[in-house]
C-alpha cells in the first residue's frame, strides 16, 4: 500500500469515526441555538464557533457529515441496483428490451446531469420537512443516476452471456431465471462494485451543488452542501475563516475516495 493510500485510509477513518461519534464529541444538537453566542469565534465550548443563528458549527459539521456519508452510498446503492436490474435484463435478453433500454439511457443522458436534477427536483415538493428533503434529494440522485452505470452493466452482461462458463452452465441444465441470477450476476460483481464506488463521490458532489442552489437538503438539517452556503459571503469568510471547515472536510473525503478508487483500478 502506497503512502498516499495510507493517508487516504487514515483520513476516511478519522472522518467516519468523528461523524459516528458526533453526539459524543459535541453534546449540543445541530439545531440548538445559543442566542447569547451568535457568530461567536472558536472557543472551548464551540471549537469552530457558532453561525448567524448561534448554532454550534462543529456539531453541524459532524451531523452534516453523517447525512452525506450515509446517504450518498445509499443513493449509489439504489443507482447500482437499478443499473444491475436494467443492464442485466437488457444484456441477457437482447432484442427489443435491449433497444428499449438503449433508448431510455439515450433519453436520460441527452440532458446535462445538473439540468436533469434541477428540473426533476424542482418538480417535487420544495416546502418539505428536513428529513423528507434528505430522502427526496438522495432518492432523486439514485433514481436518476442509473443510466450511465446501466450501459456499462449491459455491455458486461452481453460479454458474459456468450462466455464459456455460461455455456457450461447451460450444458449443466441451468435454465430460465437461474442462469442470470446465479451465474451472470456474480460475474458482474466487479463491474457493479466499480459503478457503486464511482457513484459515491459523484452523488456527494451533486448534493453539494444542489444544496448550494437551494434545492437540496433544507434547514435546519445540515449536510455538506448546506454548510457550504456560508461561503457565499466573502466578508464572513474574512471574519470567520473556520467556516471553510466543511469545504476542507469535503475536499479531504473526496480526494481520499479518488485515491483509493484509483488504487483499486490499478490493481484491477
Amino acid at each position: 500500500m502506497s503512502l498516499a493510500q495510507r493517508i487516504a485510509w487514515l483520513l476516511i477513518a478519522v472522518i467516519v469515526t468523528a461523524a459516528a461519534l458526533a453526539s459524543w464529541i459535541v453534546p449540543a444538537s445541530y439545531d440548538r441555538q445559543f442566542r447569547d453566542e451568535i457568530q461567536a469565534p472558536p472557543s472551548k465550548a464551540h471549537p469552530l464557533g457558532t453561525d448567524e443563528l448561534g448554532r454550534d458549527r462543529l456539531s453541524r459539521l459532524l451531523h452534516g457529515t453523517q447525512v452525506s456519508l450515509l446517504l450518498a452510498p445509499a443513493a449509489a446503492f439504489l443507482a447500482t441496483l437499478l443499473a444491475a436490474l436494467a443492464g442485466t435484463l437488457a444484456g441477457w435478453r437482447g432484442g427489443w428490451l435491449d433497444h428499449a433500454l438503449e433508448s431510455v439511457c439515450d433519453l436520460t443522458m441527452s440532458l446535462p446531469w445538473m439540468f436533469l436534477l434541477l428540473t426533476v427536483r424542482a418538480a417535487l415538493p420544495l416546502d418539505v420537512a428536513p428529513m423528507t428533503s434528505v430522502a427526496i434529494t438522495f432518492f432523486l440522485l439514485g433514481a436518476l443516476g442509473w443510466a450511465g452505470p446501466a450501459r456499462v452493466v449491459r455491455a458486461g452482461a452481453r460479454a458474459l452471456r456468450d462466455s464459456d462458463y455460461m455455456l457450461m452452465a447451460r450444458a449443466q441444465g441451468y435454465r430460465g431465471w437461474r442462469l442470470p441470477v446465479w451465474h451472470l450476476l456474480p460475474g458482474l460483481r466487479p463491474v457493479l462494485t466499480a459503478q457503486f464506488w464511482t457513484s459515491v463521490p459523484l452523488f456527494i458532489l451533486a448534493e453539494a451543488n444542489l444544496s448550494l442552489l437551494g434545492l437540496g437538503v433544507v434547514e435546519p438539517m445540515p449536510s455538506w452542501g448546506g454548510l457550504l452556503k456560508e461561503m457565499e459571503s466573502l466578508p464572513a469568510i474574512g471574519r470567520n475563516p473556520w467556516i471553510l471547515a466543511p469545504a476542507v472536510v469535503l475536499l479531504m473525503t473526496l480526494a481520499s475516495l479518488y485515491v483509493l478508487m484509483g488504487a483499486k483500478e490499478e490493481e484491477a
Binding site: S103, S110, F115, L205, L250, Y258, G262
Partner: protein, 287 residues
C-alpha cells in the same frame, strides 16, 4: 462504426428529442404548486379577475394538449411567454444563448487545452514527475463542487470562463490521460520506442493518432458537461445565461421556459454526440 446503428441513431434522435420535451412538460405540469399563481393572493382582485388569471393558464392543465400546441407553435417560432419573467421565451433565449455559449465555449476551449497538455506532457517529457503533478491537481479540483469553484471565482472577481475551464479540466483530463496511457502501452508504441523514435515523434505519430476516436467521442460528451457546469456558475455568479434561466424557471415552475430549455439542451447534446459519431464514422476509426 457500421452504418446500421448510425442510421438507427439518426432516425431515433428526433423521436427521443420530442419525448424528452413531453416528459419535461408532464413532470412540470404535475409538480406540486404548479396551479398556484401568487397574483391570486392580491386582496384587491375581484372574483372575475381571479377567474381570468386562472383562465390564462387553463390551456396548460392538460400536458398532452399543451405539448401539441407548444410543438405547433415551435414550428412557427413561437415558444410562448414566460410566466415568471413575463417576456416571450424566444426573446429570453435570444438574449441568453450567446452568454452561455461564450461561457461554455471558452470554458471548453481552456479545459481541453490544459487537459490535453497535461495528458500529453508526461509522455513527451517522461521522468520529470509531470504525471504525478497533473494527476494530483486533477484529483484535487475534481473534489471541489462546481458551485464552490463558482464562489471562489466570484469572490476573487476572476473571469467566469476560467471557472468553467477549471471545473471541466479534471473531468476531461481524467479521460484523456487514461486514453493516452492505454494507447502508449500498445505494442506499436513500444516498437517505435525500441527503434529509437524521439518522444515527441512517438507522441504525435503513434499515440495521438490512435487516441483520436476516443477523444472525438469525449468532445461530444464534453458539451453536455459544459452545459451542466454553466448552471451553478451562472446562478451563483449572477451571469444572465441559459443556466440561470433554467434555475429561475425550475423554481417558478415556468412551463413554457422549461420545455423550451429541455428541448434546446437535448438538441444541443444530441447533435454534439451525433456529430462525434459521424466524425468517427467518416474517419472509420472507431474501436
Amino acid at each position: 462504426m457500421t452504418i446500421a446503428p448510425l442510421v438507427r441513431r439518426v432516425v431515433s434522435l428526433p423521436l427521443l428529442w420530442l419525448l424528452a420535451g413531453f416528459l419535461g412538460t408532464t413532470l412540470i405540469r404535475f409538480a406540486p404548486g404548479f396551479a398556484v399563481d401568487e397574483r391570486e393572493l392580491d386582496a384587491r382582485l375581484t372574483a372575475d379577475s381571479v377567474a381570468s388569471i386562472r383562465q390564462e393558464r387553463a390551456h396548460q392543465t392538460n400536458p398532452v394538449a399543451y405539448y401539441l400546441s407548444f410543438t405547433g407553435g415551435l414550428l412557427s417560432g413561437d415558444l410562448g411567454v414566460s410566466r415568471t419573467l413575463g417576456r416571450p421565451v424566444r426573446e429570453l433565449l435570444r438574449d441568453r444563448i450567446p452568454v452561455t455559449a461564450r461561457l461554455a465555449g471558452w470554458g471548453l476551449l481552456g479545459a481541453w487545452g490544459v487537459a490535453l497538455a497535461a495528458a500529453l506532457a508526461p509522455v513527451a517529457w517522461p521522468g520529470y514527475g509531470l504525471r504525478t503533478v497533473t494527476s494530483l491537481a486533477g484529483g484535487l479540483i475534481l473534489s471541489i463542487p462546481a458551485a464552490v469553484v463558482a464562489l471562489i471565482f466570484l469572490h476573487g472577481n476572476w473571469p467566469r470562463e476560467a471557472a468553467a475551464a477549471v471545473v471541466l479540466f479534471p473531468r476531461l483530463h481524467n479521460y484523456c490521460s487514461r486514453t493516452i496511457d492505454h494507447v502508449q502501452a500498445l505494442p506499436h508504441v513500444l516498437l517505435a520506442r525500441a527503434k529509437g523514435a524521439r518522444p515527441v515523434s512517438v507522441l504525435l505519430r503513434h499515440i495521438l493518432a490512435p487516441a483520436l476516436p476516443q477523444l472525438i467521442a469525449l468532445a461530444g460528451v464534453s458539451l453536455s458537461m459544459a452545459l451542466g457546469v454553466c448552471i451553478p456558475l451562472e446562478v451563483l455568479c449572477d451571469v444572465p445565461g441559459i443556466g440561470q434561466l433554467a434555475w429561475q424557471s425550475a423554481m417558478g415552475r415556468d412551463l413554457p421556459v422549461l420545455v423550451s430549455l429541455t428541448l434546446l439542451t437535448a438538441a444541443v447534446t444530441m447533435t454534439a454526440n451525433l456529430a462525434a459519431d459521424l466524425t468517427l464514422f467518416a474517419l472509420g476509426k472507431r474501436t
